[in-house]
Structures are given as structure tokens and as C-alpha cells.
């Protein structure tokens, strides 16, 4: 990457926090006191933690050039917001450096600085100034802001008479008319109705084409392919992936699956007579494999362990995704597959032929029963996680998207 072109460079950045409020207050006094000194000994990040502290961001490094839109994604507590707050200069890194070349516009929360007693017109000027625009800039953009927010008829009414959707539109519209070189957006794309959201995407795409760089944090990852040109996935404070959008999304979903696994592990501990030891997806040769393409055969190898004989056992396997829960479920009796469990171990293999799933991360919930559903043995949730990594999806009206790839054809017929 050409150094001259870099608009944002995050260089080995660390950030620590303390969850204990009393300690956090005291550490605050100490931190301020240390900022008031003219110099401070350099301490390696790993030795910085005081009792009760943890790293919210660990050794984050990335850079971006004009016209890029990075989707910064990760589960809650992954460090996205801390990273964003450091980039916007709201808080300081504890180690490392952030360099920005250009004007930064940040939209962490819509409508910050609104006064409900005042009119929409007055609030546009206040909000614009809060966001860093000068009076002539706001005056020039005023008509565009009102038109974009679709509030022309009520712009002189106090905004306490506006609905929450109208306030959001107004806040977004002011921010959308900032002309920064780097725009930071934190969870603000869930604004208004679908039509207004599409309008926002269009606006962002225009900004990107004009060379604005955007860092976008959102949990609504389904919309990312509309605007993002790159994805950064954070987990537990670390950047675990930086690259192509769709692969980033599957890795993010995989992280959610693993998080769900950890959550379900306690409930999965109870079993009677027999239990499910493991379930992994494998290739034709029987080697573990987690990345597939849509249309591949997927084999799930399930290992069972039996303590007391179970006659006419049945297995139910459900394919799920973090976003859509259960997609499809299949039980052994459906294909008249019956088996008995004798003390010892048994391995079963389930083959899903020509898997019709599209890009994303998926997992299995597997349940083991005896002859009837009242003879419960064991249930494991969130196991056998796998990713579909191709083909690419398209949500701009040129390809396929969603969860399922339907076999389909088009033709014209006479009316």
C-alpha cells in the first residue's frame, strides 16, 4: 500500500479497561495524574494490566486507503467500539498509535445534541455544528438535508412532536451530508424503514465513489455486502480476519457458532444411558473439513458412546445458522434407518447431498433418543460447525443471495 495514500493507519494498538467501577475510578485518577507528567516510562503492553483490568483491544493493526469501506464486525465485547472510539479520538490508546490524514466525521449515535424544544430547522444548525460543520456549510447543505430526511412539511415544528423515526432520519440526514475524508459509523444503519435504508446505502456508495473512506460497525451483517469493500473481524479484542467481505462474514458467523457452543456446553452435560461424544464434518476420505461450496456433499461424522444398551435408538440432526436458527432437521426413522446401541462406541455418518446452502456459517444440533421421544439420552447443540465459502452472493440485484440456493430457471411464456 502506498504510504502517501493511507488515510487511516492503526498501528499495534492496545486498550485496557477495568470492569470494577471503584477500581476504574481510582485508576482514572492515576491515569490523569500520569498524563499530567511530562514523561512516562515505556512499559510493554503485556505488563500494563493492573488488578481487575483486561485488554479490550489487543495489538490491532490495519490501514485503509481512500474509497475503501471496512465493515468492522464481531460479537459483543470483541473490542469494535473501543477501537472505533480510539479512531475518533474519544479515548486514548494505552499502547500503539493511530494516524489519520484527513477530516474525520463520526456518527456514533444519531441526533446527539438535539434539543427537543427547538424546531427541526434550529436543530439542523446545532447538530451540524456539533458534528463539525461551519455555518455557511450547513446553510449550503440545508435544503439537501431537509429533502433527504423527507421532513420539509414539519421542519419548523419542535422536534418533540416528531416520531422517533423522524428524529432518526433528521440526525442521519445531517450526518450524511458531512463531507469527511473518513467517516466512522457505529450501529446507525438500522435507521427508518427499508426504503429510507436503501437511500442511505445509495448515499454511502456515492460517498465511496467520491473517495470517502468509511469504517462501519454493525451487527446487521446482512447489509454489509451492499457497501463494504473489506471486512475486519474482531474476537476477544483481536483482529482475527482482515480481507474479503463474504469470507469475513462466514468467519464472523463461525465465531457466533463457537460462542453458542460455549453457552450450550453446560446444558449438554446431562445424559442417560448413551451420549453424543462428537460430531465433525469430513471430506470423502474421512478427514475433518469445515469449508465447503454450495452444491458439495457434506458428511457429518457422529461418535456415540453407550453405557447401557439402548434398543431402536434414533438420532435427530438439525442444520442451523446463527441468523436463522433451525434451517432443516432430519431424523433416522425418516429413512427407516434403525440401530441399537451396545455398551461401547459407535460412529454414524450423515450425508447431506448437494447442500443448497449459500455463504455463511452453519452448525448442527444433534439429539439422541431411544425407541420413543420420551426415552431421551442426550442432546448436543452447536456442534459440527462448517462454512459455505462459495459462490459469491450478490444483493445488488445481479445474482443470488439469502440462505438457500434454489435450483431454478427462467423463461418467457405467452400471456
Amino acid at each position: 500500500m502506498d504510504n502517501e495514500q493511507i488515510i487511516l493507519e492503526v498501528d499495534r494498538v492496545w486498550k485496557k479497561y477495568c470492569r470494577n467501577l471503584r477500581r476504574a475510578m481510582w485508576y482514572g485518577v492515576l491515569d490523569i495524574a500520569s498524563q499530567l507528567r511530562s514523561s512516562r516510562p515505556s512499559v510493554p503492553p503485556k505488563d500494563m494490566l493492573r488488578p481487575g483490568e483486561f485488554f479490550a483491544v489487543k495489538d490491532a493493526t490495519f490501514s485503509m486507503v481512500p474509497g475503501e469501506c471496512i465493515g468492522l464486525i464481531g460479537p459483543n465485547g470483541a473490542g469494535k467500539s473501543s477501537l472505533l472510539k480510539m479512531i475518533t479520538g474519544l479515548i486514548r490508546p494505552d499502547a500503539g498509535q493511530i494516524r489519520i490524514s484527513g477530516r474525520v466525521g463520526a456518527l456514533i449515535e444519531l441526533g446527539t445534541g438535539f434539543n427537543l424544544q427547538l424546531s427541526g430547522r434550529e436543530n439542523i444548525f446545532i447538530n451540524g455544528t456539533v458534528l463539525g460543520l461551519k455555518k455557511p456549510e450547513i446553510a449550503r447543505a440545508f435544503d439537501g438535508i431537509v429533502e433527504f430526511a423527507e421532513l420539509g412539511a414539519v421542519i419548523d415544528d419542535p422536534i418533540k412532536t416528531y416520531s422517533s423515526g423522524m428524529r432518526m432520519r433528521l440526525g442521519f440526514s445531517v450526518a450524511a451530508h458531512l463531507r469527511p475524508q473518513l467517516l466512522i459509523l457505529d450501529e446507525v444503519l438500522a435507521v427508518g424503514d427499508v426504503r429510507f435504508r436503501m437511500k442511505c446505502f445509495q448515499h454511502f456508495n456515492n460517498l465511496i465513489q467520491q473517495g470517502t473512506s468509511i469504517v462501519l460497525v454493525t451487527h446487521a451483517v446482512g447489509m454489509l455486502p451492499r457497501v463494504a469493500t473489506r471486512t475486519i473481524v474482531c474476537e476477544a479484542g483481536r483482529i482475527v480476519y482482515d480481507g474479503e467481505v463474504q469470507k469475513g462474514l462466514t468467519i464472523y458467523e463461525q465465531g457466533l457458532v463457537e460462542q453458542a457452543n460455549r453457552g450450550g456446553a453446560t446444558a449438554d452435560q446431562h445424559w442417560t444411558n448413551a451420549r453424543i461424544l462428537s460430531a465433525v464434518t469430513v471430506d470423502e476420505a474421512g478427514y475433518e473439513k469445515v469449508e465447503f461450496e454450495s452444491g458439495d456433499d457434506i458428511r457429518l461424522r457422529i461418535e456415540l458412546e453407550c453405557e447401557t444398551e439402548v434398543r431402536e435408538a434414533r438420532l435427530i440432526a438439525a442444520v442451523s445458522s446463527p441468523g436463522a436458527e433451525t434451517i432443516g432437521s432430519m431424523a433416522t426413522p425418516f429413512q427407516e434407518f434403525y440401530f441399537d446401541l451396545q455398551p461401547g462406541r459407535l460412529v454414524l455418518e450423515l450425508t447431506l447431498k448437494k447442500i443448497p446452502l449459500l455463504l455463511g456459517a452453519y452448525y448442527f444440533d444433534v439429539s439422541l433418543y431411544g425407541a420413543s421421544l420420551t426415552d431421551f439420552c442426550h442432546r448436543r447443540t452447536g456442534i459440527g460447525g462448517f462454512r459455505i465459502v462459495a459462490p459469491a452472493i450478490d444483493i445488488n440485484g445481479n445474482g443470488i443471495s439469502g440462505l438457500i440456493r434454489f435450483e431454478h430457471s427462467w423463461r418467457t411464456v405467452s400471456p
Binding site: 507528567r37 479520538g89 479515548i91 489519520i100 490524514s101 427547538l118 434550529e122 455544528t129 456539533v130 461551519k134
Partner: protein, 292 residues
């Protein structure tokens, strides 16, 4: 928006590693970058604050008027008494005018001391979500303070004409002294911002302590410049500039020149120190706003 794009670097090094640059940035943000925002916030607050009240801007006058009424009533009932003779026994002023003047200046001092903490506390949402020149909040607070003080001082004009028959030129001489007193109080308030934002005991202690502080400050009584009573002027930082400015307004001269000058000269460095502490502490405070 035009010209070279600004270069911004955020790092962990202490701000005071280059104090000259820090002071220049504070100066720029206070007087240039934050000016427009401060003005808008000031106008917003002014328009919004009294919009849903019956008495409107009369609320600016009410606290000193009510306090004055209480103390004048107590004095008329003989609860306390004191001489209202000015420097060198020259002039005698009406008790109502004396107490009203003291109350107005004291009210300004109290509001100035509490302003920085209030500014941070009432703008927590903005501080934790937007990066704007933080000093704009202080500038806006100063605008509020001086606006309120000016409005209250207007009250003094009819009061002076009614009670003493004329206006003293000393009123004009008192303006810079009051200005320095306000800067001193704002500076002290700024130094309190880190502790007061982290530990909510500080603003509570301040509001409990203010009535006691007023008692040991010569707001409603005259302080002769003789030992040991004048020591109060040296030990109580609220006193010398308040006494000097009121003396100038009422008598056209003051006996407390030394203490007044000393604290007047200290006011500007205290204000600058306060701005430094405020600037340096905000990121650490915003971090804790996130935690809490």
C-alpha cells in the same frame, strides 16, 4: 475543508510531553475551533431553558433577589447587625443595596465554580460520542455565566438609583475585578473536573458546603481591613475579589487592594492550569463514562 488534509495522531504519550503545543491547541480550540459550537450551544440552551416556564428569564434574577429578601428581613428583625460604613468611614450605604450587590457577585462566583463540573455532567452523551473541541463547553459555560451576571447587574441600576440616588463610576472599575473572580472560580472548577466527574461526592460536597462558605465570606457583612479579621480575606479565596469588586461598586474604592491584586494576578494562571487539567483528563473520563 480545503487545502492539505489535517494530520491527526492519537497515541499513549503524556500530553505534557510537549506543553507548548498543548497550550497552543487549547488556545486554538477555546477561541477559534470551538467558538461557533459554543455560541450555538449557548443560544440553544438559552432558547430551550426558559421555553417551558411561566416566569421565563425572571428565573435568572430570582435566586439573588430571594436571598437578599431573606437577609434584609433577618436584619430588619435584629437577628444580626453590622456597620455598613465604607472605607475610612466615608460613605454609608443602604443594607438592601449592600446585600443585593454582594449576593449577585456571590451567585456569580458559585455558578462559576460549579460550571465546569455541570458542563461535563450535562454533556456526557456528547462527550462520549463525538469528538468536538472540548473547550467549547467551557466557552459556552463562560458565555452563560457572563450573560447571567450581566442580566443580574442590570437589576443593580434601578437599585442604585433608588437606594443611593446615583450610579458610582466604580461600577465600571469593578467589571475587570469581577471578571478575574469568575476566571479564578472557573479555573478552580476546572481543576475539580477529574475528581468531581469520577467521584460524585465532590459535587455533593460542593453543594452542601456552599452555604457555609457564604457565611465565612463577607457577602452580607462588611469586613474591616484590620487584623485578625482581614486574614479571612487571605485565607478564603472567594473573599478578596468579591469584597474588592463590591467596594468599588458601592464606595468607588477598596481597602483590600493587596489581597485583591494578589488573587487577581493568580486568577489567570489558575484558569490556564484548569484548562490544562480539563483537556488532559477528558479522554480518561470519557473512558469511565463508557464503563459506568
Amino acid at each position: 475543508m480545503n487545502g492539505q488534509p489535517p494530520k491527526i495522531v492519537y497515541h499513549a504519550k503524556p500530553d505534557l510531553a510537549s506543553p507548548g503545543r498543548l497550550l497552543r491547541e487549547i488556545y486554538r480550540d477555546l477561541l477559534f475551533n470551538g467558538r461557533e459550537l459554543a455560541w450555538r450551544l449557548f443560544v440553544r440552551n438559552l432558547r430551550g431553558m426558559y421555553r417551558q416556564t411561566v416566569l421565563g428569564m425572571f428565573w435568572i434574577f430570582l435566586p439573588p433577589l430571594a436571598n437578599t429578601a431573606i437577609w434584609v428581613f433577618l436584619r430588619s428583625r435584629g437577628v444580626f447587625d453590622f456597620s455598613l460604613t465604607g472605607p475610612n468611614g466615608s460613605t454609608e450605604v443602604d443594607a438592601t443595596l449592600y446585600i443585593l450587590t454582594g449576593m449577585i457577585i456571590w451567585q456569580g462566583f458559585v455558578e462559576a465554580l460549579q460550571m465546569p463540573l455541570n458542563a461535563v455532567s450535562s454533556n456526557r452523551g456528547m462527550l462520549s460520542r463525538l469528538n468536538f473541541p472540548r473547550e467549547a463547553l467551557i466557552l459556552e459555560g463562560l458565555m452563560d455565566l457572563f450573560f447571567n451576571l450581566a442580566i443580574r447587574c442590570l437589576l443593580l441600576i434601578p437599585a442604585f438609583i433608588y437606594f443611593s440616588g446615583s450610579l458610582q463610576w466604580g461600577i465600571l472599575a469593578a467589571i475587570p475585578v469581577i471578571g478575574l473572580m469568575m476566571l479564578f472560580a472557573v479555573g478552580c472548577g476546572l481543576i475539580l473536573v477529574p475528581f468531581g466527574t469520577l467521584y460524585h461526592d465532590v459535587p455533593r460536597l460542593l453543594s452542601i458546603g456552599m452555604p457555609f462558605w457564604m457565611i465565612v465570606t463577607p457577602v452580607i457583612y462588611y469586613l474591616p481591613n484590620v487584623r485578625p479579621t482581614n486574614l479571612l480575606n487571605w485565607l478564603n479565596p472567594a473573599s478578596p475579589l468579591l469584597v474588592a469588586s463590591r467596594d468599588l461598586m458601592l464606595f468607588g474604592a477598596t481597602e483590600h487592594v493587596a489581597a485583591g491584586l494578589t488573587y487577581g494576578l493568580v486568577a489567570i494562571p489558575v484558569f490556564v492550569l484548569g484548562l490544562l487539567v480539563f483537556r488532559v483528563s477528558i479522554p480518561a473520563l470519557v473512558e469511565r463514562m463508557v464503563v459506568s
